[in-house]
């Protein structure tokens, strides 16, 4: 195998980053936007859902948990196709005008990653000793306060859920292609650009964009991990804001 395209890619990546290439900045920022919105939306829906599933006893609980675990692996092209039919003007949700837009891609990715959030959060909470929940309850906490306390204790599992789903959304290709159509200047993101450049035979540029994508993901993950466990300590920043010394 020829190493040339990879070496080309490394060189081009450095060049693009250092020169502050506008189009690359646009692509990266759009990737961050779609993945960011998707993670926020998925978090808002998935977190309470995960807590509920983990903490309550109900009939069919095992079925629901297994269902969400399975949905983590839903094929993205299938989900993309399904959403495309819904969001197309000839479909039921066409009036929302979400096809070929960034919010449309974000919603699609959110739906994709909700099972990830739910599964991870539910597992994290269940890993916590059930006695903790009972203890908090006997101390007079309401349902909501109990849930918040449990989430705080399981916070590393929760942040793992969120960062994993962000990573998944950031690296998403199938949904971005089907719903966004890779329109230059409008819905093109890093992953779809990489696919396009590869199809065009521009392997050097493809590798360059891939390195940039990896660099962004790695930096973000290190940053989050630093905030969690680093100098500020576990939840050190939270304690800081709450006024403890």
């Amino acid at each position: 195998m020829s190493w040339q395209p990879i070496l080309d890619g490394l060189g081009k990546a450095a060049e693009l980053i250092l020169s502050g290439d506008r189009e690359v900045i646009e692509l990266t920022s759009r990737s961050l936007q779609t993945a960011g919105y998707a993670t926020v939306m998925a978090g808002l829906v998935g977190l309470p859902l995960g807590v509920l599933i983990a903490m309550r006893q109900f009939r069919g609980k095992r079925f629901v948990k297994t269902l969400f675990n399975a949905l983590v692996g839903v094929p993205t092209v299938t989900l993309g196709l399904f959403l495309y039919s819904l969001l197309s003007r000839s479909g039921p949700l066409g009036f929302l005008d979400l096809l070929y837009t960034v919010p449309g891609i974000a919603i699609g990715e959110a739906i994709l990653i909700i099972p990830i959030v739910v599964s991870f959060v539910a597992s994290a909470i269940e890993a916590k000793d059930v006695q903790l929940r009972d203890l908090v309850r006997t101390l007079g906490a309401s349902e909501l306060e109990t849930s918040l306390a449990v989430v705080r204790e399981a916070s590393s599992g929760v942040s793992l859920a969120l960062i994993s789903s962000f990573n998944r959304a950031f690296a998403e290709l199938g949904i971005a292609t089907m719903i966004g159509a890779n329109i230059r200047g409008l819905t093109r993101v890093l992953t779809t650009a990489i696919a396009l450049e590869t199809a065009k035979g521009e392997l050097g540029l493809s590798f360059a964009l891939s390195f940039i994508l990896l660099a962004v993901v790695l930096s973000l993950n290190f940053l989050v991990s630093f905030l969690q466990e680093g100098r500020l300590g576990r939840q050190g920043w939270l304690r800081l804001v709450m006024g403890e010394r």
Partner: protein
């Protein structure tokens, strides 16, 4: 206490700063036009060229091109997700008009398809006409001397390829099922993707394929493929591009007027000049030929007749019942 206040203040400043930055850099709302197209106009970079020039003249519009291949482009338009199409398959275009989805079809450019293949030319088809070449390839394929790559995606190019096989008197169903002697592999491959990617596949497999001359030149020049032209252009390998607006009665995006602005632009001297100029600097010849300019100048009556025979519907670009407030669009 002080540290905590500081953190809160910093947070507020950050949020305010980001919010202000966002607000100040928000794009001025432009009217958007969505055009679904064949892949060959896109793969050659022509559409980026068109977008730049069109938006320079009409800065209030933002044109988005979705390159999908003719069949999917027409489907997207039928779904109401696009405002107009730029395609190159007269049969599918006619159906688009008669089914009531399209109005004001205008032929805007043409070029030719060519057949390309490995420089060694194992099937020995160089210099033959397209139909003879296909017959030879069909004969050599099962022997293992020729591999053919088809678009296989119902695109305009694919339709042309199917028509040529039919004209040569060959049955595709039979050819597709044949295996190379002594193996379990077919010699007729179907790529299922765009022209550019298909050329790369053919390059990889040292195969023959049908391509439009523009995409071939672009990929050849960039060095991505080493295939060479084996069969030249002629009447049977004419490639004609048309623009069709979506019928406002069926299309709910409401951008019909903007679509007509683009169609008129493409038909105007300015738009035609884009076709005349694109590629000359990089390849030494225009990748697409301006149809309307050629028609007006009557510089090549034989060619003009070929285009009319191949791409005219009921004697013109667009039968009168499918024209809508066309004004002077049809002369």
């Amino acid at each position: 206490m002080r540290q905590r206040t500081m953190v809160i203040i910093v947070a507020i400043v950050l949020v305010a700063g980001v919010g202000a930055g966002w607000y100040l850099t928000r794009p001025i709302p432009k009217e958007s036009l969505i055009v679904s197209t064949t892949s060959s106009l896109y793969d050659t970079g022509f559409l980026d060229f068109l977008k730049t020039n069109f938006e320079k003249k009409y800065p209030q519009y933002n044109v988005s091109f979705i390159s999908q291949g003719t069949s999917l482009a027409i489907q997207t338009a039928k779904n109401g997700d696009a405002d107009m199409v730029l395609v190159h398959d007269p049969t599918q275009e006619k159906a688009f008009l008669t089914d009531g989805y399209g109005v004001n079809r205008k032929i805007i450019a043409y070029n030719f398809y060519i057949m390309v293949g490995p420089s060694a030319d194992p099937a020995e088809v160089t210099g033959l006409g397209p139909l003879e070449a296909l017959k030879k390839i069909a004969a050599e394929g099962p022997k293992g001397d020729a591999v053919w790559v088809s678009r296989g995606d119902n695109s305009g190019t694919h339709s042309k390829e199917k028509a040529l096989w039919k004209l040569a008197g060959l049955n595709l169903t039979v050819l597709k099922a044949q295996k190379v002697e002594g193996t379990n592999n077919p010699w007729y491959l179907e790529a299922g993707t765009t022209m550019g990617a298909t050329l790369q596949l053919a390059n990889q497999k040292n195969a023959y394929t049908l391509t439009d001359v523009a995409t071939f030149l672009k990929y050849s020049k960039s060095g991505s493929i080493q295939l060479v032209k084996v069969v030249d252009s002629g009447k049977d390998t004419l490639n004609v591009y048309s623009a069709i607006a979506c019928n406002p009665a069926k299309n709910t995006r409401g951008k019909y007027e903007v679509a007509m602005v683009l169609i008129r632009y493409l038909a105007s001297d300015e738009g035609q000049a884009l076709f005349r100029d694109y590629g000359v600097q990089d390849f030494g010849l225009a990748l697409f030929k301006p149809w309307i300019t050629t028609l007006k100048s009557n510089s090549d009556p034989t060619l003009i007749q070929w285009v009319k025979d191949y791409a005219y519907i009921e004697g013109s670009d667009c039968p009168t019942q499918y024209r809508l407030n066309a004004g002077d669009l049809y002369g």
